[in-house]
C-alpha cells in the first residue's frame, strides 16, 4: 500500500476528480471486465482498465494528454458490467473536463462547442432545413432558443457564468 501512496503524483488530483463526479474510480479493483466489453477498445488502443488505474494513481498528465481518453463512445457497456459498479463514464467525463481545462481539445470538438455557444444548438440551422420544415408544415425555425433571442441571452449568460466561453475563445 505504501508504494502506491508514494506513487501519487498530484495531491489535488483526487479532489478535482471527485468535484467533477469521478470519485468512485477508487472502487475499481482492476478485473478488466470494462476493457473486455469495450467496443472502442476492440478497434483502438483505448483501454478502460488502464485509464481507471492511471486515475487511481493520480497520473493526470499521462491521462489528459492521451488520445485514448477521447476514444470512448460513452456506450455504457462497461458501466453495466462492472462488478464494482464504478460509474466509468462519469470518470471519463471528469477526466475529459480536466483535459479541456488544460487546453486539450480537438478542433472538431471546439467547433461543436462553438455551435452551442453561438446558437444554443450543437448543429446549425440552414436554408435547406428551413425549407424542409416549412414543407412539412412545421415552423420554419424550431420553437427553441433559435426563435427566442431573450431565451438565448439567458443561455449565454449561463454558459459565461460556468466559463464555457474559455473553451470557445481559446
Amino acid at each position: 500500500m505504501s508504494i502506491i501512496v508514494d506513487f501519487k503524483a498530484d495531491p489535488n488530483f483526487e479532489k478535482q476528480l471527485a468535484a467533477l463526479g469521478g470519485e468512485d474510480v477508487k472502487l475499481c479493483f482492476q478485473c478488466g471486465t470494462c476493457t473486455a466489453s469495450c467496443p472502442s477498445g476492440r478497434r483502438t488502443s483505448y483501454r478502460v482498465r488502464k485509464i481507471m488505474r492511471e486515475a487511481q494513481l493520480d497520473m493526470k498528465e499521462a491521462i489528459i494528454s492521451s488520445q485514448e481518453l477521447w476514444e470512448c463512445s460513452t456506450c455504457y457497456t462497461c458501466v453495466e458490467r462492472c462488478p464494482r459498479q464504478v460509474p466509468i463514464v462519469d470518470v471519463i467525463v471528469a477526466l475529459r473536463n480536466m483535459a479541456v481545462a488544460e487546453g486539450h481539445i480537438y478542433a472538431a470538438h471546439k467547433k461543436t462547442a462553438s455551435n452551442l455557444y453561438t446558437t444554443g444548438h450543437t448543429v446549425p440551422i440552414n436554408d435547406e432545413i428551413k425549407a424542409q420544415r416549412k414543407a412539412l408544415g412545421l415552423s420554419e425555425v424550431p420553437p427553441t432558443v433559435l426563435s427566442d433571442s431573450a431565451a438565448f441571452a439567458d443561455l449565454k449568460k449561463i454558459m459565461d457564468a460556468t466559463k464555457f466561453d474559455a473553451i470557445v475563445k481559446e
Binding site: T44, T74, V100, L116, V123, L136, T144, I158
Partner: protein, 281 residues
C-alpha cells in the same frame, strides 16, 4: 389524454425534421398531447458538452428542466442523447443538494430556479409503458410486413441502474413496439453494439466511429433486414450518412416514422427526402 413537454433537441429539428413531424402526428393519433418548450436549447449533448465542462452541461440542462417544471409537465424526448443528458442531469440534481444549490445560484441570475421535480421520459418508453401495445395496434391503419433491424442505441436503456426500462443486454421493448405494426424484428449478432457516433467519437475520430457502424451494418445485412428502425436521431444520422461510404443501402427510419407509415401518413409528411439512403415503401 396524457400531456408532455416536447423536448426537440438538435438533430431531429435541424437535420431530420420528418422525425419531429412524425412524432407530432403519431402522438396526436395515440392521445398523447405534446406542448412545445418555448426557448429550450440543446440538452446539452452528454458525450461532448458534458465532457468539456460539466457545470455548463448541468446548468444548461437545469435550465431546460426548469422550463418544463414551470409548465408543470414531464419531458418527453425523441433522442437518446437528449434523454441521457436530461435524465442524468435531473438525477445528479436530485441526489446532490449542494450541486443543485450551486446550479440554482447560476439560474437565479436569469430569474429562474429548478426545484427538482421534472420527470424525463423517452418517446419509446412512453409508447410502451403508458400508451401500451394494444392501443398502438388499434391505431394502426396500414399494417406492415417488413423484416427490420431494431436499433436501441446506448442511452435509451443505459445506465439501466437509474433508467430501469429494459434489460440492456437483451432488450425487447423496441422489438415489441416494432412488431405492433406487423413488421418482424429479425435476430442478429451484436444487437446492442453502439452505432459509434457518441462521446464525440464521430466528430474527432470519424473513421473509428464508422468501424462500429460497419459491424452493425454487416450484421443487419446478414439478418436480411429491409429497414433499420432507431429511436435516436444521432444513431439515425450516423447510419444514414455512413452507409454509402461503407457500401450499404439499408434505409433508416426513426420509430416515429415507422409508426407514421403504419398510421397512414403520406411519404411527403414523413420527411423522407432528408434521408441520404432513399426510403422506398
Amino acid at each position: 389524454m396524457t400531456k408532455y413537454a416536447f423536448f426537440l433537441g438538435c438533430i431531429a429539428p435541424l437535420r431530420y425534421p420528418g422525425i419531429e413531424k412524425s412524432t407530432r402526428v403519431v402522438c396526436q393519433k395515440l392521445g398523447v398531447e405534446l406542448v412545445d418548450i418555448t426557448g429550450a436549447s440543446c440538452c446539452p449533448a452528454p458525450g461532448v458538452i458534458r465532457a468539456f465542462n460539466r457545470n455548463t452541461w448541468l446548468a444548461a440542462a437545469a435550465r431546460n428542466l426548469a422550463l418544463a417544471e414551470k409548465m408543470g409537465l414531464p419531458i418527453v424526448t425523441i433522442c437518446n442523447g437528449c434523454y441521457g443528458s436530461l435524465f442524468e442531469a435531473a438525477d445528479v440534481l436530485n441526489k446532490e443538494p449542494e450541486k443543485l444549490a450551486e446550479i440554482n445560484a447560476i439560474l437565479k441570475t436569469i430569474g429562474m430556479e429548478y426545484k427538482g421535480t421534472t420527470k424525463v421520459y423517452h418517446f419509446a418508453d412512453v409508447l410502451y409503458r403508458e400508451v401500451g401495445i394494444e392501443k398502438i395496434k388499434a391505431a394502426i391503419t396500414k399494417p406492415l410486413n417488413y423484416g427490420v433491424a431494431t436499433f436501441y442505441g446506448c442511452h435509451f436503456l443505459k445506465p439501466s441502474s437509474i433508467k430501469n426500462i429494459d434489460d440492456p443486454e437483451n432488450p425487447h421493448v423496441l422489438d415489441d413496439l416494432v412488431e405492433a405494426t406487423g413488421c418482424k424484428s429479425l435476430p442478429r449478432k451484436q444487437k446492442t453494439l453502439c452505432c459509434g457516433s457518441g462521446g464525440g467519437l464521430k466528430a474527432a475520430f470519424g473513421d473509428v466511429a464508422k468501424e462500429f457502424t460497419k459491424t452493425n451494418l454487416e450484421n443487419m445485412q446478414a439478418s436480411g433486414a429491409q429497414f433499420i428502425v432507431d429511436v435516436c436521431p444521432f444513431c439515425h444520422l450516423q447510419f444514414d450518412t455512413s452507409e454509402k461510404d461503407l457500401g450499404f443501402n439499408i434505409p433508416v427510419l426513426h420509430l416515429s416514422q415507422l409508426y407514421g407509415i403504419a398510421m397512414g401518413m403520406s411519404e411527403q409528411e414523413l420527411g423522407l427526402s432528408a434521408h441520404k439512403i432513399p426510403v422506398k415503401l
